[in-house]
């Protein structure tokens, strides 16, 4: 196939209509794109320009509620809602938004891992998302789960994926339109791309190799210190030990969010992560939490807002580290020492 646009099966072209074809023309895919879809795609929907975003390292990764309201009908834009609460979308969502559930849609059911390229292609295709689609993700709790979905999209190299600054709560607080009507997008073709974990995902052995460089624990101070948060006869958390990874700095994820759920401005974020947590320009950083969701939010902040190039999310996080055999932890409020190299 010489190009995706010209070589499309006619049925697929009929189903998707002119919208996608025109975006292909705009992108100049026609003669230059090889069969692989991994090349650079220009954003079809121009990035938002405003003073707050301009200060961030990658302003094109955010959109405001104003911008989204004005661009809801844009061709080649799909809005995705991703929440902690699995039923929230059904109570009302941004018109046209599709739902992606991190647990049932993005996780592999049998292995503690994310879905593979084929499942991702099937999922996105079913939501009307092509490889060139501009995807805007939003969700509850200051975009905590939306950031997680964005991080998983990034594992598959989806080029143009953005967060709605302030998420679901801000949209609702502003009295904007909601609907309970579930869109039924025509299925489109999303290519099967191999998931590439290494750049943004850390595994347990990677954390050992990383010791000596900054780690950020984004859980609550109580989880960080290992203090008991449940009382006798109450259901216990699933982790055997409480505490944190040695040398990790504590920066609870929600500190990056202002009261209205939007991201704090660049200056405030620099004060938190560089001032308090001691990160320096060019640092390689690993962030973790309990299962990797809250740390996706911090990953987004460090990577896209503050411009740290090498940030990985350790999604095994405390549920793995806190239970693993012969793995050291530190209790209490202090980060603790970097452990001696193993063996």
């Amino acid at each position: 196939m010489s190009s995706r646009c010209n070589g499309l099966p006619s049925l697929w072209r009929m189903m998707t209509g002119a919208k996608v074809v025109s975006s292909c023309l705009w992108l100049g895919w026609a003669e230059t794109t090889p069969d692989e879809w991994k090349g650079f795609a220009m954003p079809v929907v121009a990035a938002e320009q405003n003073e707050k975003f301009a200060a961030y390292a990658h302003p094109e990764r955010l959109v405001s509620t104003d911008w989204l309201a004005a661009n809801l009908d844009a061709d080649s834009l799909v809005v995705v809602e991703s929440n902690e609460d699995i039923l929230l979308y059904e109570t009302g969502h941004i018109p046209g938004a599709v739902k992606i559930d991190w647990h049932t849609d993005l996780n592999d059911a049998l292995t503690r891992d994310y879905i593979d390229g084929e499942a991702f292609a099937a999922l996105l295709g079913s939501k009307g998302i092509t490889r060139e689609t501009t995807v805007v993700i939003y969700g509850d709790k200051s975009n905590w789960w939306a950031a997680y979905a964005l991080w998983v999209f990034t594992l598959f190299g989806h080029e143009d994926v953005r967060l709605l600054d302030g998420g679901r709560d801000k949209w609702i607080a502003e009295g904007r339109e909601l609907t309970t009507e579930t869109p039924k997008p025509a299925a489109v073709e999303y290519p099967v791309v191999e998931r590439r974990d290494e750049a943004i995902r850390a595994f347990l052995p990677d954390v050992f190799e990383h010791f000596g460089k900054p780690l950020i624990d984004v859980r609550s101070p109580e989880e960080y210190s290992g203090e008991r948060t449940t009382m006798p006869a109450y259901p216990e958390e699933g982790t055997l030990r409480g505490g944190h990874i040695p040398s990790a700095a504590s920066v609870p994820w929600a500190r990056a969010a202002a009261a209205d759920g939007t991201f704090r401005n660049r200056e405030e974020l620099e004060a938190i992560y560089k001032g308090e947590a001691g990160l320096n320009e060019g640092d390689e950083v690993i962030a973790y939490c309990r299962i990797g969701e809250r740390s996706s939010h911090t990953w987004f902040v460090l990577k896209h807002l503050l411009g740290f190039e090498n940030v990985r999310n350790y999604d095994g996080s405390w549920t793995e580290w806190g239970n693993a055999v012969r793995v050291p932890i530190v209790k209490g409020a202090e980060p603790g020492e970097v452990p001696a190299a193993r063996r």
Partner: protein
């Protein structure tokens, strides 16, 4: 295993049967309906959060309290409070409210702890979220036990 074979009160067993008779998407829809039907706090509790106990295991704020009535059966009135933006948590509370409210204390104490797992939602709802419902049930039972001990 049939529901009736266990110590599950009829009004709760009926709800479990309803869930089990459905496919997963319908189960979620039913849970959403329970979230809508959860009654508001009565006047004497509304605006008095200190009278309610927070179920911290829930990922969204949920508060509950109960009152044990006079009489040999000790009928239990259960009250829940959860915000509309937490429909899953409200749904679990709604199931427990409709399934347990008004029952004698002894019947509630005898309800098996694994009732949340019997709703057939373990695939759609993460274990952590289901644990929130187990925690509600555990705290209801503990409050009953504490209240009886205090008499």
């Amino acid at each position: 295993m049939t529901v009736s074979a266990q110590n599950i009160p009829a009004q709760l067993a009926e709800i479990i049967d309803d869930f089990q008779a459905m496919e997963e998407p319908e189960r979620l829809q039913l849970l959403l309906e329970f979230s809508r039907s959860l009654p508001d706090l009565p006047e004497h509790l509304a605006g008095q959060p200190e009278l309610l106990e927070q179920v911290v295991e829930c990922q969204s704020p949920l508060f509950l309290t109960l009152e044990i009535g006079d009489g040999p059966e000790e009928p239990v009135e259960i009250y829940f409070s959860a915000p509309p933006e937490a429909p899953t948590t409200r749904g679990f509370a709604g199931v427990l409210h409709e399934g347990l409210n008004g029952l004698p204390a002894a019947e509630i104490l005898a309800v098996p702890d694994d009732v949340p797992e019997q709703l057939g939602l373990t695939r759609a709802i993460t274990p952590l979220r289901l644990r929130g419902m187990s925690a509600m049930l555990a705290r209801i039972k503990r409050q009953i036990t504490d209240a009886r001990a205090a008499v």
